[in-house]
Each structure stands twice: as structure tokens, then as C-alpha cells.
Symmetry: C3
Subunit: 350 residues, 3 copies
């Protein structure tokens, strides 16, 4: 854990900011968050799940955030609130404020003379900013980032080290892109002509809304003709592939290693599991949850949870069942035959 | 979409280049491609699928490329041809010509004195070229690219920003590598010796043929002893993993997130679906199509389509069926018992 | 293959270093390793699998490493030993010694004045080293690497080009990180509050033990509160995702494209197949083997092999079986009905 020299806050100061009720000594000061398991005096932990009730009784943390319904789970000074996990997120953000940009362009950065870079933006060492790019106020561009021609970064964008943004892409306000992210590479647009693939120029852009976060090594391809769009508040984990002309609806969260194929439309407030896939041109409704390792091959019109992972087993059991799976259609036919014969027998008997 | 100031062409000029038949006003000029849905005057769209016939009737595009069989799908000026999608690709390329390299080595690039760099090649800012590397005529090396010792880039290679090529690898002519591509990292070669892994030096190379395109963040490992080979005209999408000593046959296309394990041989003109996998040492014939999310565990000798994704379902249905799947071998045994008993009953009855 | 000018060794010199028994002319000198298939005079190949016995009879290699049990598989000069593959690894390492760092900081590198860099370490061109970072003796930092504040690299660490390490992470001795690796990006920590995701600051670190190797474009996220830990001797292939607070036990090997979700604990000496997944908070015992494309959704307490890939088939067969799979619960119910009816018939008959 980072041993930061962060400022401390009393429980009273915290509830003044974020609401909730202090139970116990409201003058208790906390300077860092911790888990119940490893909490020490001076830290604040949280309890959001009954499974951790025993830990709440034994934790050495200085204070605990918990649900009003579990208000008596500990004798420690505590804050009771409606949504302890979200409350914890806010307290952690208070105690661990994001690093602020250090205004200025590093002497080793290569910025085109036509780029417009806000005075208070930070352009890190060994990064490059292309022609007519616009870097908004409060942006921090990490070392080794390559920003193409005409790219627009809104206010307060944070690019970690080694991010790549191709020409013409548009990034909203307060967006965070992690290292290795590639925005705007060409979509996989190919036409087959006489035994060879012909490349289709990818002339669309990537347009990313406000408050989006994109995890390390995730790739979002530019549109073939129209744009690829990531709406506001979307959260993408690492190693995700978003193909050309996909639209991801606002506040949807996608876990690592998922892949969304070309022109698919994912609704708002969806939760897409790790290593899942969505086929091309599929439409997914709002509030859909897709389990990990699931391939969605048809559009989904109703909210709900959808699953398609093979249940794992010890290899010997898996072998037996998988062998039968390859004969399942035949098995079903045999059951039909049995039903027919049995019905005949029953008739003949009566 | 990029609002380029591109040159316009009349339909007459286009068919003079690419063939096909103009129907309607052959003097109609178009300056950009568009979809039927969003086309505007001055743009040219295409119709390759009967599903879009209604859009062809209402499009505001200035002209349409379509199949001869659908020649009356619109009253707009149009070009009828055999393969409208390939034709569209060629027209789009005409209207959106690739950016040409700007000859010269950027002052911030680090090029070894022994590297041989063609006079008309472009070496972007903050890139590095190693000892004895050879950069062919017409190459464009983007910013932040790291090119190892003895690497060879053929004529007209395009490296987008932040590409990495390890020592000794060979890249053919007109190859395009997108950002984040890693060519020639060590294969996963390990021997187990007394409880610890021993690294096997990976001394082969990666050899990439002409006209290959590799998508963002795709990795191609160098061979363990012999080379890893990507033949001419292969198209790789993003986030693909090609292990050591794989050979991918000419003109095969592989969709995003696929993984090809060590020493597998993929045939020519194959189409490999997204997030599919090919096990090590497998041999896949030419003209094989593999569906998305499919794991190929045995060699495939015949052309055709092969599939192995679990069919997704609403979670409740999936749970029920998956529970039975884990008892499928037992179910098959019960059906065999039923068949035996029923046969005995039938015999006793006759 | 690299045509290195490497030093030659006689078989006698080799067994003096690594043990084993020479059969035939112990003065035979070899300067490079090769496969049986492509071996030439002056190279040494290995035979570890009976499948390759025919190649051992016809190889043109100068010498062969083989198991004592196959000592007569060839008439060539040969070394018989217990574990020919591990022996081969050691011989190849002898003939292909790793490139040694060239001490010094390249003039284009950007190193903070507070960073402590060992005198014999190599800092490549266009790389950056942050505040208070410590680079140990014998380290080689490739071109384009970005090393954050307070990062610690132990002795003899090798970073290939374009590696990114976020602030505060700790890398053990003799670790190898391949290009595109991202260590310490934020974990996917989000709390849902009133329809919008709230980011949870990720204040843990990544701590990597000695002798770990990490493949190209693999990502390892920093811990949310406590650390993400990769124990000594772990080998990670390319394109792997390790989420926050995961612990991977010593000497475990994970194949490409696998994903380990948050807080999962993987045991020691495990082998995790390509594109497999491990769900969050799962615990995997030591010596567990997981097959490719398998999703582990429950903790595994016993060593053994676990599998969960759908068996692929020709698309037509797959369609038939998959359709029945979606009715499997119903099929099982029909079998139960048959069993009941048949039992009634049998009873009525007796």
C-alpha cells in the first residue's frame, strides 16, 4: 500500500461532507483507508457484506463505514450510511486525492506548433502531440503518449504513460486512459476480391464521452465510415477490444478481456463480464448483465442476466460429458423413440 | 467522420478506373464515401445486401454502388458491378488515399549509425532504430516505435505509433502494423527442472510476408529455434496472440482476441473467428472457417466451418441446462438402460 | 534463426558443466542448437518424445541430447541424461547467452535527479525514470520504457522496449518484462452510486518476486488497498490480465490470453491454460492444472486437471447438438418420466 502522508479527517468532518451518521467518538481521525483484515489505528475500513461480520468484530482499524442495518456490527467509532461501498469510495478519494497536473510541456516532448495546449495542462516527457490537436485545461498527458493530428482532449483528461490516440479522435472531459490504450486504430474492414483482401479505409473517428475510464491495453477502433462511440460514464477494464462502429451506452461497465465486434450496440447501464463476446451488429438492451466467458450471438431485448459458459469439471468427468454432448442430438432422438415405443406398449396393454 | 478536402471524381472517371456500368448521370461527382443511412449529396454509398434495399430507396447519398442484380434498387445515379463491397473499398481508397511518408528522420529519433534507412523513408519523433536495421524505401515509422537490431522493413511499410519490433525480425513489403503491436518477443518456452522453470532461449525470428496488416496490441512471438511465419496477405485484427513457431497461411484473416498456440499451422484462406483458440501443434487445412469463441483441439483436414461456442441463454435456463450437462454421461447411461428394459418388455410381450 | 557467432563447446565440455553421459565422440563440437528436422553439422538437437524417433534416425544435426531410455535412438554423438528438455534448455542458454547490459544512461533518457540508478545499469534511449525510483545493479531498461515514481527494480532486471511500470511497484531480481507489459495500472474498482460509477482509488501496489517472466502486452493491476502479488518463479505468457489483489503462487505458469479476476488466489506450481479465466475471490490449490478456454467459477481444493471447453465440431453437428443442449433440462425430465412409466409397466406385468 502507498504510505502516503495524506491529511487526516475526523468522522465528524467526513459526515459533514458525505452525510451518514457517526456512532461513537466523532472526533476520531482517520488518514487512510484499509481492509477490515489489515486495518490499523488511524485507518477506516468498510463493511458492506454480512460475510465479513466476524472481521468487523476483530478489526484493528480505527473506524468502520457500514450499512445502517449493520450498525451494531462493531463497537468501534463508525459511520452508518445507505451505501457503504460508495461511501467508502468517496472517503478513499478524499484521503487519496488524484495527483494534480504539473502545468507545462516537458522539454523532451514534441508538440506541433499548430497544437493548442491549455496553459495549465501537463505534457509529460517523450510524448508527442500532432498538428491541430487540442489539449484542454487541466489535462495531464503522461510520458510516452502519442497524440495524433486533430485529436481533442476535453478538460481534465488524464493519460497515463504510453497511451496512443490516432488522428481526429475526440476525448470527453475527465476521461482517464491507462497505459497501453490505443484509441482510433483502423477497424478490421476488408473486402474479399479475387482471393485477396482489399483494405477499406477507416475514415470514422472514436468519440468518447465524459467521465469514461479505459483500462490498460484496451483498444477502441475508429469507425469505418461513421464513428465508434463510447458514451459518458462508461468504464472499461483492461485488454478489451471494441471494434469499429460499436456504440457502448452510458454508464455501462465492461470487465477485462471482453470483445465487442463491429457495429454492435450495447445499451446503457449494462454489465458485461470478463472475456465475454458480443457478435457484430447485435443490439443489447439497457440494464443487461452478461456473464463471464459468454458469447452473445443474438440481440437481447429484455433486461436480465444472460450466460453461456461451459461448466467446468474435473477433466475425467468433463471428458465423459463432453463425449456425450457431441452425441446429444442422437440421444434426444433415442428418447423420442423410447417415448413412442412406450406409448405403443401402454396402448397395447390397455 | 473525417471531413477531408479530398478530390472529387465523376462516376464516369470511377468506372474508367475500376470497371462496372454507370446507370444515370455519369457526370455526377462524389468526393467521399458514406453509408446509405447517413449519405449526403456529394457522397457515394453502397448496397451489397438485400436487407438494406429500403435504405437504398430513401438514401440522400449522391450515388450508389450496387450489384448488377439490384440495379433498379434506386433511381439515383449508380454504378452496377459484380462485387459492390470490393468496388466500394477501391472507391474509398481513391477518395481517401493513405497518408504519404514525409521523408526524413525526426531530430528526436535515435537511429544507430549502422542502420540503413532509405532516403525517402520517414522516421517519426521519439522512435529508435537499432544496429544494422534496414528501413526500406517509402517506409513510415510512427512516433515512439522501437525497432531492434538487424530488423528489416521492406518497401512501403507503415508502422503506426508505439510499435515494437525485436531484433532480427523481417517485415515484408507494404505491411501495416498498428499501435501497440509487438513483433518478436520471446515465445513461452520453458522446461521444468526440479520444481523451477528453465527458460529456453528463443533464437528464431518472426518473418512477415508482403501485404500483411496487424491490428492494435496484437503480439507475434519469435520462434524458439526456427522462425514464426506470417505469409503474404494475412490480416490480423487487434489483441491477437500468435505463439512461437506458428505459421499462418497466405490470405488468412483472424478476428480480434484469437490465440494461436505454439507450432500450430493455419492454412491459406482461412477465416478465424474472434476469441477463438487453436491448440499447439495443430494443423488446419486451407479454406477452414472457425467460429468465434471456439477452441480447436484437433487438426482439421477438410475445408468447412467449425464451431464450439456454448449457446448462451437467460441465466435461469442456462443454470438448469448446465446442471444437466454435468450429468450428461449418466443421463446417456439411463437412456441405454431404458432401451434395454423396453426391448425386454417388447420381447416378453410378443 | 539467429546466425550468431557464438562460441562452440565439445560434448565433453558440456557434460562437465551439466552432467549426463556422452556416447560416441566426446570431442564433437557444437555451436548452436537446432531441431532434429532442420539440424545441420555443428548443431545439437534433442529427442524428448518417442514420436520423434524417426527424425532422430535421419537428422543431419551434429549431436543429439536424449533420454537415457532412448540412448540408442541414433548413431550420432549424443548426450544421454534424465531430463533432455531441461538439459537442452541449459545447453541453449550456454550457446546463446543473454545480451549483457551496456552500462550507462542514454542521453535521450529522462531520469529524475532523485532516482538511484546502479552504475552498471543500462537505461535505454527515450525511456523515463521517475522520482525516487531505484534501478538495481545489472538492470537493462529498454528503449521507450516508462518507470514511475518510487518504483524498485531488483538486481539484473531486464525490461524490453516499451514497458510501463506505474508508481510504487516493486520488481524482484532477474525479472524479465517483455514489451507492452503494463505493471500497476488501476484495478477495476468501482462502486455504484445513484446510477453512476464512483471510482475507488487503487492505492495498493504490484509486488513481483524474483525470477518472474512476463510476456508481451500482459497487464498486472495494482491492488485496491493491499497489494497484487506475483510470487517468485512465476511465468506469464503474453496478453494475460491479472486483476487487482490477485496472488499467483510461486512457479506457476500461465498461458497466453488468460484472465484472473480480482482477489483470486492461484496456488504454487499450477499450470493455467490459454484464454482460461478464474473468477473473482476464487482460491486455487497448489499443483492444479486448468485446461485452455476454461472458466473456473468455484474454488478448487484438490490438485488435478480441470476442464470446461465446449468440444468443437463441424458447424452442422454443433448446431444440432447445441439446439438440444438448450433443451437438456427438459430432456432429462422426459427421461425421468420414461423411467417412471416403464417401472409402472414392469410392475403391472409381473
Amino acid at each position: 500500500m502507498k504510505r502516503s502522508e495524506s491529511k487526516s479527517y475526523t468522522l465528524r468532518e467526513i459526515v459533514e461532507r458525505f452525510g451518514g451518521e457517526v456512532i461513537g467518538d466523532s472526533g476520531t481521525a482517520v488518514g487512510q483507508v484499509a481492509t477490515l483484515e489489515k486495518g490499523q489505528p488511524g485507518t477506516i475500513a468498510f463493511l458492506a457484506n454480512e460475510r465479513y461480520l466476524p472481521q468487523a468484530r476483530t478489526t484493528r482499524a480505527g473506524a468502520v463505514i457500514l450499512a445502517a442495518s449493520m450498525r451494531d456490527a462493531t463497537d468501534l467509532p463508525r459511520i452508518a450510511c445507505d451505501n457503504p461501498y460508495a461511501y467508502f469510495a468517496r472517503v478513499s478519494d478524499l484521503l487519496n486525492p488524484p495527483r494534480q497536473p504539473v502545468p507545462g510541456i516537458h522539454e523532451t516532448a514534441v508538440t506541433d506548433a499548430t497544437a493548442r495546449i491549455a496553459e495549465d495542462a501537463e505534457i509529460g516527457p517523450l510524448s508527442a502531440v500532432g498538428r491541430n490537436a487540442r489539449i484542454g485545461p487541466g489535462c495531464a498527458v503522461g510520458p510516452g503518449c502519442m497524440i495524433g493530428d486533430n485529436v481533442v482532449l476535453g478538460k481534465g483528461v488524464l493519460l497515463h504513460a504510453n497511451v496512443t490516440i490516432y488522428h481526429d479522435c475526440v476525448i470527453g472531459e475527465r476521461v482517464i486512459l491507462h497505459s497501453g490504450v490505443i484509441i482510433g486504430a483502423d477497424g478490421f474492414g476488408l473486402a474479399m476480391g479475387e482471393g485477396e483482401w482489399i483494405k477499406i479505409p477507416q475514415i470514422g473517428r472514436v468519440v468518447i464521452g465524459d467521465n469514461v475510464e479505459v483500462g490498460a491495453n484496451t483498444t477502441i477502433d475508429r469507425g469505418a465510415i461513421d464513428d465508434t462511440v463510447i458514451e459518458e460514464g462508461v468504464k472499461l477494464d483492461n485488454q478489451i477490444q471494441i471494434a469499429h462502429n460499436v456504440r457502448v451506452g452510458a454508464h455501462t461497465a465492461i470487465a477485462a478481456c471482453a470483445g465487442i465486434a463491429g457495429s454492435a450496440k450495447v445499451g446503457r447501464h449494462c454489465r458485461i463480464g470478463g472475456a465475454s463476446g458480443i457478435a457484430g451488429h447485435i443490439v443489447i438492451a439497457d440494464h443487461v448483465e452478461i456473464s463471464a466467458h459468454t458469447l452473445i450471438t443474438k440481440s437481447i431485448e429484455k433486461p436480465g442476466t444472460y450466460t453461456g459458459a461451459y461448466p467446468f469439471d474435473a477433466n475425467r468427468e468433463w471428458r465423459r460429458n463432453a463425449a456425450q454432448l457431441r452425441r446429444l442430438d442422437e440421444l434426444a432422438a433415442r428418447v423420442r423413440t423410447l417415448e413412442r415405443k412406450l406409448a405403443a406398449l401402454e396402448r397395447s396393454k390397455s
